[in-house]
C-alpha cells in the first residue's frame, strides 16, 4: 500500500514543478532566517550570522536537487529530457530521419496488418461458450488411404460409427453430427441456393447456442420427418424478411415442402461457416431399426457426416482420445469387414477450422517479420554511421561525466522516439493494409469478418516498436558506449576506419543480404509454382465455358420431370446463337461431388468393403465432354438414348483403365460402383483424364454415368455451356432460358475461368504477398549496402587521398573498395542461400513442380542480388576516387 502511495505522490510530483519549487524556496528561506536569527542571538555580527547559516546548509542548490529527486521520478524525468533532446537532434537532419521513420513505419504497418489477420483467424478463441472444449471427431488420415485432398469430405464419418460413439462414450458432454451443402430453397417467389446444415438434435447443445429470436427444434421435431422445422441465420433472416423477428412463423420452401421457421440464431453464430438454414437431420435409416446386413455394411462405410462434440471436462482431450481409440478398437472387432484399422481422432475444433490456412498465415507472418528485421538492420547501419559522425558530441558528454549507461540510454531513447513515430504512422497505414489484406484474401480463409486493428493488435504494435528500437538502437548505442573519451577528443580522432563499429556495420550488411535472399528466393519459388499451376495440363479447356448449377426439384415420383427439364434446357441452349456446345455434369473439374469404391467384372463376396479402389463418381448429361473439350478416346459418348429403361452404361477415364485393367480392353466389361446402386454397368467408352481436384493434383480414376439412369443425383447438375465469345456475356441468356423452363428451379452461374481462379487463389495470394515483401526486402537490403559503402568511402577519403598521392591508380583503389564490399556481399549471399534452402523445405507443401533446392532459382536470385550489391558498392567507390588527392590532404 505504502509504496503505491509513494509512487502516486511522486507521479504527481512530476507536474506543477514551478509552484512546488517556489514553495520549497519559501521553506528553505524561512529555515535560513530562523538560523540567522539564532546566530544573531548568539551575538554574531549580521554578516557573519548569514555566512555561517549558509555554510551550515552545505549548498542550497544541492539540497533542492536532493529534494527534487525525492519529489518526482528522476528516471522518468531524465527520459523525458532525453526524448526532447532526441527530437531536437532528429530535427537537425529531417531528410534522413523522415526516410528512416517511413521505412520503419512501412515495416511496422505490414507487421501490424498481418498480425491483425493472424490474431483474428488463428489466435482469437472461437466465439462460443468454452470454445476450448469443442472438438471434432474424424478418422485418422491413415484410415483413408487414397483420399485425395483434405477437404470436408475427408473429415466425414459414417453415421453408424457416429451413433456407436455417441452411445458408448463418456468423455463428452454432447456429440452431434451434421451435413452441410448448398440446396435449392424458395423463400420468396424465386428459387435460390442457400447453404443448409442438417444437424442432429444435440447440435445446439454442443455449441451452447440458443436462438436470439424464437426457439430451436424440439426433440419430436428432430425425430419426426413429418414435422420438420427450420432455424435461420441472422443474416439470412434479415436478407429474406428484412428483420429477424419477422421470419418467425414464415416458411421456406425446400423441394416440395413448406418448412415453418421457428427460430433465428444470434448473428455471431456461424457454424458450419456460411450456413443460412439449420434443419434437423432426417433420421438415418439405421437410427432405430436394425438394417439388413448388406445395407448395414454399406452404411458403415458411407462417410457422409461431420461430427462435433463438447468435452465434458475442460482438460479432457487426451482422455477423450483414449476412450475413442478404445471404442474404435471394439468396433473393429465387432465389424471386421468394414472397420478394419479404422481409428478416430479427436482434435480441437479451432485447429480444424483454421488448419488449412495456418501454414500460409505463418509463412506471411514470418516474411513480414523478416522485412522488419531487414528494416531494423538498415536503420541500425544508418544510425551507426550517424553515431560515428556524432563521436565528438558523445565524447564531450562522456568527458562531462555522463556514464556509459547514461549515453546508451540516451541513444536508445532516440531510437525509441523514431520507432514510436514510425509506429504511429504504421498503425494508420495498417488500418488500410488490413482492409486490403482481407479484400485480397483467398476465399478459404475463415473468420475474416473479425479482422480489425483492435486493442490486442495495438498492444502488439507497441511491443513491436519497443523491440524494434532495441534492435536498431542497441548496436550504435553499444558502439558509442565503448568510446575511449580521451582518444576521441583529440583533433582528428575518430576518423580511423574499422574497429568495432565497422565490424558491426559489416555484420549488419551480411545479415541484411542473407535475409533478403531468403525472402526473395522463397517468393520466386512460390511465383514459379503459380506459373506451373497455371500451365498444368488440366485435361480440359476451361476458356469460354459457362457453368450454371441448377436444381430441378422433381414433383413426380419417378423424377421424369427433373430429367425432362435438363434434356429440354440443353436442347434450347444448343439453339442459342453463340453456344458451341452444351452438356451438364454433377461434379465438373474442381467441384468433385462424390467418391466411391468400384469393382470391375464382379463384386468380391467376402473382401472388406473398404478394400475397393476409390474413384471419382460423376453423373453427366450428353454434350458435357464436347463442352469441356474432353476427348472420347475409345468407344462412344453418352446420348439421349441412354435412358432409365435402356441398359446401364458407364464411361471411364484413362486413369481408371490404367489402374484397374492394365492394358486389357475395358469396353464391354461390367463395372460395379458403390454409388447409388450396386447393379453392374457396361463400360461403353474411355475418355481423357482431367485434374478433378485442381491443377496441383494428378488426375484420379473417374467414372461417368448418364443422368437419365441415375436420376437422384441427376436432379442437381451444373450445366456446361461452351460459348464462342465471352461466357460472362452469355450468362443472362442462359439463366433466362432456365427460368423460362421452370421458375422453381434454383440456378447459380459462374464461369470455368472463375472456378479455376478460385482454385489457385491461395497460391497466388501467398506468392503475390511474398514477392511484394521480397521486393521490399531487396530494396532495403541494397539500400543498406549502398548506405554503408557510401559512408565507408566518405570515412576513408583521407586514406584514399594518401594512397592516390603515393601513386595508386583510381582503378586499384576502386578495386580495393569493391573487393571489400563484394566479400561482404558474398558472405551474405551464401548464408542467404543456405537459409533459403531451409526456408524452402519448410514451405515444400506450397511448392508445385518446383523443387525446394531448385538450382536455377538460387542462381538467379544470387546473380540479381550480387549485381545490385556490386552497383551499390561500385558507385560510392567511383565517387570516392574522383576526388583530387591534394584537396583531401589539404583538409588536415
Amino acid at each position: 500500500m505504502t509504496p503505491l502511495r509513494v509512487w502516486l505522490w511522486r507521479l504527481g510530483g512530476l507536474f506543477g514543478g514551478e509552484r512546488r519549487d517556489r514553495e520549497l524556496q519559501h521553506e528553505l528561506d524561512s529555515h535560513l532566517r530562523m538560523e540567522i536569527d539564532d546566530n544573531l542571538k548568539r551575538g554574531m555580527a549580521p554578516d557573519e550570522a548569514r555566512r555561517e547559516a549558509l555554510l551550515r546548509f552545505e549548498g542550497i542548490e544541492q539540497a533542492k536537487e536532493l529534494y527534487r529527486d525525492q519529489r518526482g521520478l528522476p528516471l522518468l524525468e531524465t527520459t523525458w529530457q532525453d526524448a526532447r533532446y532526441a527530437v531536437r537532434t532528429l530535427r537537425k537532419n529531417p531528410g534522413a530521419t523522415l526516410i528512416g521513420i517511413l521505412v520503419m513505419a512501412l515495416a511496422i504497418a505490414a507487421n501490424t496488418a498481418v498480425f491483425s489477420v493472424v490474431d483474428a483467424v488463428l489466435l482469437n478463441p472461437l466465439p462460443y461458450e468454452h470454445p476450448d472444449r469443442l472438438v471434432t471427431l474424424t478418422y485418422e488420415s491413415s484410415t483413408l488411404a487414397g483420399t485425395p485432398v483434405p477437404t470436408d469430405r475427408s473429415r466425414q464419418v459414417s453415421i453408424l460409427d457416429f451413433l456407436d460413439w455417441q452411445r458408448d462414450s463418456r468423455s463428452f458432454d454432447s456429440m452431434a453430427a451434421y451435413t452441410t451443402g448448398r440446396t435449392s430453397v424458395m423463400a420468396s417467389s424465386v428459387a435460390e441456393y442457400a447453404v443448409i446444415a442438417r444437424v442432429t438434435p444435440e447440435f445446439f447443445r454442443v455449441f451452447r447456442v440458443q436462438p436470439s429470436t424464437g426457439r430451436s427444434f424440439s426433440d419430436e421435431e428432430a425425430r419426426d420427418p413429418g414435422r420438420i422445422v427450420a432455424v435461420l441465420s441472422d443474416r439470412y433472416a434479415r436478407q429474406q424478411f428484412a428483420e429477424a423477428a419477422r421470419a418467425i412463423g414464415q416458411t421456406v420452401r425446400l423441394g416440395n415442402r413448406s418448412v415453418p421457421i421457428v427460430g433465428v440464431l444470434p448473428a455471431a453464430f456461424d457454424f458450419p461457416a456460411d450456413t443460412d438454414i439449420w434443419l434437423p437431420m432426417p433420421p438415418a435409416p439405421a437410427r432405430s431399426l436394425p438394417l439388413p446386413p448388406a445395407l448395414a455394411r454399406e452404411q458403415r462405410r458411407a462417410n457422409n457426416y461431420l461430427a462435433v462434440a463438447r468435452l465434458a471436462d475442460p482438460l479432457g482431450l487426451r482422455r477423450a482420445q483414449t476412450e475413442m481409440t478404445a471404442i474404435s478398437a471394439r468396433l473393429e472387432q465387432q465389424y471386421p469387414e468394414t472397420n478394419r484399422s479404422v481409428r478416430v481422432r479427436v482434435s480441437p475444433l479451432q485447429r480444424d477450422i483454421v488448419g488449412d490456412v495456418k501454414p500460409m498465415l505463418y509463412l506471411i507472418f514470418a516474411s513480414v517479420a523478416i522485412v522488419l528485421l531487414i528494416a531494423c538492420a538498415t536503420m541500425a547501419t544508418l544510425l551507426l554511421a550517424k553515431a560515428t559522425a556524432r563521436i565528438p558530441e558523445i565524447a564531450v558528454r562522456g568527458a562531462l561525466g555522463a556514464s556509459a549507461a547514461r549515453i546508451v540510454r540516451q541513444l536508445l531513447v532516440e531510437a525509441a522516439v523514431q520507432s514510436c513515430a514510425a509506429g504511429l504512422i504504421g498503425v494508420g497505414a495498417a488500418v488500410a493494409g488490413t482492409k486490403a489484406l482481407v479484400a485480397l484474401s483467398p476465399p478459404n480463409v475463415p473468420r475474416l469478418a473479425d479482422v480489425a486493428v483492435n486493442g490486442r493488435v495495438l498492444f502488439f504494435t507497441l511491443g513491436l516498436c519497443l523491440l524494434v528500437s532495441l534492435l536498431f538502437g542497441l548496436p550504435p548505442a553499444l558502439q558509442a558506449a565503448r568510446l575511449d573519451v580521451s582518444e576521441r577528443l583529440r583533433p582528428g580522432g575518430g576518423r580511423v576506419t574499422g574497429g568495432a563499429g565497422g565490424r558491426m556495420r559489416e555484420a549488419l550488411v551480411v545479415a541484411e543480404l542473407a535475409l533478403a535472399v531468403i525472402l526473395v528466393a522463397t517468393g520466386v519459388l512460390l511465383v514459379r509454382s503459380v506459373v506451373a499451376l497455371q500451365q498444368a495440363p488440366l485435361g480440359f479447356r476451361g476458356a469460354n465455358v459457362l457453368l450454371m448449377q441448377a436444381t430441378a426439384v422433381p414433383s413426380r415420383p419417378d423424377w421424369t420431370d427433373s430429367r425432362m427439364f435438363f434434356q429440354e434446357l440443353l436442347a434450347d441452349l444448343r439453339q442459342v446463337p453463340g453456344v458451341v456446345a452444351a452438356g451438364a455434369m454433377m461434379g465438373p473439374p474442381g467441384r468433385v461431388g462424390s467418391e466411391s469404391g468400384y469393382w470391375i467384372d464382379r463384386m468380391p463376396q467376402h473382401s472388406p468393403a473398404n478394400s475397393a479402389r476409390p474413384a471419382v463418381m460423376n453423373v453427366i448429361a450428353p454434350g458435357a465432354f464436347d463442352a469441356l473439350g474432353i476427348p472420347v478416346l475409345q468407344g462412344r459418348d453418352f446420348h439421349d438414348g441412354d435412358r432409365a429403361d435402356a441398359p446401364s452404361v458407364v464411361i471411364i477415364n484413362q486413369a481408371l483403365a490404367r489402374a484397374a485393367l492394365a492394358g486389357r480392353d475395358p469396353l464391354g466389361r461390367a463395372l460395379i460402383a458403390g454409388f447409388d446402386s450396386q447393379a453392374p454397368m457396361t463400360i461403353v467408352g474411355v475418355v481423357g483424364d482431367v485434374r478433378q481436384y485442381g491443377p496441383d493434383r494428378e488426375p484420379q480414376p473417374e467414372i461417368y454415368m448418364p443422368y437419365q439412369q441415375h436420376f437422384y443425383n441427376g436432379a442437381t447438375l451444373r450445366v456446361i455451356v461452351k460459348t464462342a465469345t465471352d461466357p460472362a456475356a452469355m450468362a443472362p441468356v442462359v439463366e433466362r432460358k432456365a427460368r423460362d423452363r421452370a421458375p422453381q428451379v434454383a440456378v447459380r452461374v459462374t464461369t470455368m475461368d472463375d472456378l479455376l481462379a478460385e482454385q489457385i487463389a491461395t497460391p497466388k495470394f501467398r506468392a503475390w504477398l511474398l514477392s511484394l515483401f521480397g521486393a521490399v526486402a531487396l530494396c532495403l537490403a541494397i539500400g543498406g549496402v549502398y548506405g554503408v559503402m557510401a559512408y565507408v568511402a566518405g570515412q576513408r577519403s583521407k586514406e584514399i587521398g594518401v594512397r592516390m598521392a603515393l601513386g595508386a591508380t583510381a582503378r586499384s583503389v576502386r578495386w580495393l573498395m569493391v573487393r571489400r564490399g563484394m566479400t561482404l556481399a558474398g558472405i551474405g549471399l551464401s548464408a542467404g542461400v543456405a537459409g533459403a534452402i531451409i526456408a524452402a523445405r519448410l514451405v515444400r507443401g506450397m511448392l508445385f513442380e518446383v523443387k525446394p533446392h531448385d538450382v536455377a532459382t538460387y542462381i538467379g536470385v544470387v546473380a540479381l542480388l550480387g549485381l545490385l550489391s556490386l552497383l551499390a558498392t561500385y558507385i560510392p567507390a567511383r565517387r570516392a576516387t574522383r576526388i583530387d588527392p591534394v584537396v583531401v590532404l589539404r583538409q588536415e
Partner: protein, 113 residues
C-alpha cells in the same frame, strides 16, 4: 565541527518521527535543532537530506505539513505526525528496542558462551 557524526541513513526518518511525537508540530529547522540537541550535539543533520526525508515521510503518509507562524513570528512550514505516523513510530520503536537489545547481548562482556 567535523568530529561530529553525520546521521546514519535510515535512522533520520525515525528521529524525525520521534521528535514530532514528543514536541508536536514543528518546522524543519526546529526538527534539525532538536535532533542535534537530543544527541548532545554528537550528531549533525545534513539539511538537504532532512528536507528530502521530510518529503519522503509525507509521501509515505506518516506526516503532514501546513504553513504556520513560528515562535519568533517567522512564517514556516510545520510538520505534524499523522495517525499512520503515530502507529509507525510505535512499531519502529518496538523493533528498534528489540534489535538493539539483541545486538547489545553480543557486546555484553561475560555473557557470550
Amino acid at each position: 565541527m567535523n568530529d561530529r557524526t553525520d546521521v546514519w541513513q535510515g535512522t533520520l526518518a525515525l528521529m524525525i518521527l520521534k521528535t514530532l511525537e514528543t514536541l508536536g508540530p514543528l518546522h524543519g529547522y526546529g526538527i534539525a535543532q532538536r535532533i542535534e540537541q537530543t544527541s548532545g550535539h554528537q550528531l549533525r543533520v545534513h539539511y538537504g537530506t532532512l528536507y528530502a526525508s521530510l518529503l519522503k515521510l509525507q509521501q509515505e503518509g506518516y506526516i503532514a505539513s501546513a504553513w504556520g507562524v513560528s515562535d519568533n513570528n517567522r512564517k514556516a512550514k510545520f510538520y505534524r505526525l499523522t495517525r499512520a505516523g503515530r502507529n509507525h513510530v510505535a512499531r519502529a520503536a518496538r523493533d528498534w528496542r528489540q534489535t538493539t537489545a539483541i545486538v547489545a547481548r553480543f557486546f555484553t562482556p561475560g555473557e557470550s558462551s
